[in-house]
Symmetry: C2
Subunit: 159 residues, 2 copies
Amino acid sequence: MADQIMVKMVLDAWHAKIKEADDIFNKLTDEQLQMEVAPNRNRGIYLLGHLTAVHDGILPLLGFGDRLYPQLDEIYINNPDKAGTRGNSAKELRAWWKNINSTLANHFSQLSPGAWFEKHNAVAEEDFIKQPHRNKLNVIITRITHLASHNGQLIFLVK
Amino acid sequence: MADQIMVKMVLDAWHAKIKEADDIFNKLTDEQLQMEVAPNRNRGIYLLGHLTAVHDGILPLLGFGDRLYPQLDEIYINNPDKAGTRGNSAKELRAWWKNINSTLANHFSQLSPGAWFEKHNAVAEEDFIKQPHRNKLNVIITRITHLASHNGQLIFLVK
């Protein structure tokens, strides 16, 4: 019962932040996405690619299978914005962002409350015995704050 | 045991975001705090007052006692930045920010894992029976994402 309540708390927060991001992206034109969120900071389109790449990385980490868009890491995680690496179109990134989040939502809904407290795939068995908080649900908590932080920046593009 | 793990997960996230904010504020001079985080957006000092006011509001909500700085709401929550309301000095706000967070940390450390899953003071008994996720720990989750969002903005003041 407690497990179930905790999972609901975290997934509610996840879905609320995804909705917040979707609302922002839906308000922005492809042209607005090309703007920097603040002077000399990341462009909206870079953050869209960055968030898509980070969320895609949740798939193997939680044992949901292979990544859908591993090619995004080089451009949107390993390199900063405007590094000269060839980016993707807004149209592509918008579709991938939508797809990775609905894929994750589908996996999330199928995981039992207890399974959320099992270890994720970046922690060793022996470490998990001593650090049981390094579980699957904790991955979602860290990704929620990551998304919240970038939402706080992306909102600056909405005029 | 499960309660204890969940509480650790959330409080670890809280303390990580508080540290992130502290690191940003410590890097900024009082003059830099007077700058807008992005053109025509909130100044750093307004966000410092805003975060202090919101965190102060956690005290009565979780039954920890009366607020320390209720006067902040009018300036930093009910009114937008540059509304002509008289603000506080950076020195005052920095001290209050530090004090409210250490006061909260002290209360948090004294709450038993089970008590975190009791209802907070803005939900009625009869609603809580049907919505047990509206507990004290959930308040912290929402405040963590709030803080993360503003940290993502304040970092723009760091040059």
